[in-house]
Amino acid sequence: MEPGPPGGPAAASATSAAAPAGLPLSESEQQRYSELFSRCCPPPEAAAGGSSVGELFRASQLPPDTLHQITEVCGAKRVGYFGPAQFYIALKLIAAAQSGFPVRIESIKNELPLPRFVALKNDSDVRYGTPAELHGVKFQVPHATLEKNSYKRTDEGDKQEPKSPPMSPICSPPASPSTYQRIPLTYGYSKSRSGLEQQHGAPYEVRHSTHQQDGSSSGNYGAKPAHACATLGRSLSVEREQPDSNAHYSDDPWRITEEQRDYYVNQFRSLQPDLNSFISGSVAKNFFTKSKLPIPELSHIWELSDVDCDGALTLPEFCAAFHLVVARKNGYQLPETLPDTLLPDYLQAASLKPLRDCALFDSYSESLPGSQQTRDFSRTEKTSAEEVPDNSALLQDTKKDDKQALKVSTAVKTIPKDFQHLTVKTAPQEPNALKARPRSRSYSSTSIEDAMKKGEEPPTPPPRPQKSHSRASSLDLNKIFQQNTQAVRSGWLPPPPPALPPRPSVSQTEQVSEVELHPQMNRPPSQAEENSSAKKEVVLVQPPSKPARRKLRTETQGLETPELSPTINVTSSMQAVKPHLPVQKQSSKQKRAIQTAIRKNKEANAVLARLNSELQQQLKEVHKERIALETQLEQLRPVTVL
């Protein structure tokens, strides 16, 4: 849509910046550009804010490669900022690109139409309906659990600043998702995020204009409301204009921190001791099913993370998948395409150098408690997690794992132990699984190089894996078995979230049956709110902690939990989880908070019980009345019937 050229171009608007020498600009262009420039660049500054410029460029709907080229050509990269000259040149180049000319200085010498920016209004009454929706859709973080993240709330409410245009809807990734790598990281993320950032002026780096090897992650730092607390405070002081190549790791939900990575690697090791080899599909499936995400989401996560589509996960793929699971459980929406920072190549390289910035490490762990509150929300999505059939083609796998899960659920165990069991069980099945999936596309050898050779896809289809049924009848059998095993399955061991400091796991209520889980899971988030402050870190890191149970424990078995928690605390702290000093300070606070919560709940219980008995009383009285009335009626009846 073409914003109308400014009416009355005769009087060129006052602009402190003149057009760069040698660049012919018509009057309308001059006026338009100066408007855009002043919009992007608050008057006192000499250079346009990198973030607003980035958004503007994105609104031009050009592919990001073109935008990078434009940035380079206009000289912003060279000088490091968008001065008026660079800005004007860039705008002209955008116009050229939109008209189909190559991005070159020569092409802008000609007369060109004005560059078009989607949904860019000249007025200041841009409404943020779209980005807010995007925001809401993308993040789905429940308000109730965000008492800490007031930032985010004010963002949604505050739509006054006309600094950025409403973004066009998310669904415009420029390239087909079949090539995961080069896609700018869920375009929608960058857009919605930049909507966010404009509103509170957060200077998240706009990376689109500085591109490092991977041409995409513009505004990678998409959507980190949950991390808002600590990291936002810090990043507010960061320079805006400089599109520098240093990523702001703390902002990016799709970047794996060092401790997360270590955790994932450990989990991988528990499933597959050889770090250079694969985890087969069935093993991975059982593992991720324990996270109790719905199967379609897990399926999508798999699709995203299994880049070479061989039905097995290498270490970087596994880390990516695990990270996506964690993010999803924290309430983030899954991206349409794999973010760059989760690419296997990237992760391979990243694993070689540790992340800098230990400060961010702390902030990450601090802010994670906030993000964990979103688990409550994600919990309500999983009401049918148990009903979802366990899709294991190997029947023995399901049965054994279910029994395993059952055992696990009834005893307090820590994850490493469980995974030992799992590994033991699946180790013999792994070779079967590997054999059962001979795919000509996946050289299921035990070296990553072979897996990476994925390039060619043979035109003929690979032989069908054995474990997929070959007859119609077996399909039903599969389903029947799955239903049977579902009844048996009663517990799960979720991969714990990455914030690893051990917290008192008050949630060790393994005794609670699943039946109780369901009604509890539907409890409104407001309930969770009061508990969540107490529990938010609790579930976090505990390896055996079950977020679902977290809600329950306040209602029932409050007594047992304090007893359990010290023991679990001890055991968990022994685990691979790394303790953090700030956490231990809070654990005692946790206990107190938990105990007060328990007391409150007991009182509520008592009140409800009283209410119940009163109502029962009333019911009895009403019954008596009714009986009395009926007898009266009977007596009267012979009179009336003549």
Partner: protein
């Protein structure tokens, strides 16, 4: 550019069916369903001995006035049926073949996913995107 793409399981129920949403989509469903007969006919015509040599691409199943129907069968008897607008001039055989090949590759990618049960309906976003790229762009 296809007007309708369908993936039919071995037992002849649809795993995935997607049409251009212009007109009565049931018509396409019906077409696909009736084309299954033709597919079966072609398969059986090959004879059991020739199963391995049978080519996967079945070619034009039957033309009607408005559109043509093409078929493709995999070795596990999963069928891909594609309905193409007749007015779309000269979609060559090669192009149809390549479209089927892409479909097949995407289908195998879905199969790779351990969370996918063979026989379930296909809900993969990647598959959707790929099919979208093949469908006619209707304004």
């Amino acid at each position: 550019m296809a007007v309708c793409v369908a993936v039919i399981a071995k037992e002849n129920y649809p795993l995935y069916i997607r049409s251009v949403p212009t007109e009565n989509e049931l018509k396409f469903h019906y077409t696909v369903h009736t084309s299954l007969d033709v597919v079966d006919e072609k398969i059986s015509a090959m004879g059991k001995a020739l199963v391995d040599q049978r080519e996967l691409y079945l070619g034009l199943l039957y033309p009607t006035e408005d559109y043509k129907v093409y078929g493709y069968v995999t070795n596990s008897k999963v069928k891909f049926v594609m309905v193409v607008d007749s007015s779309n001039t000269a979609l060559r055989d090669n192009e149809i073949r390549s479209m089927f090949r892409k479909l097949h590759n995407s289908y195998t990618d879905i199969m790779c996913n351990p969370f996918y049960n063979p026989g379930d309906r296909i809900h993969s976003r990647a598959f959707d995107n790929m099919v979208n790229s093949m469908m006619m762009q209707v304004c």
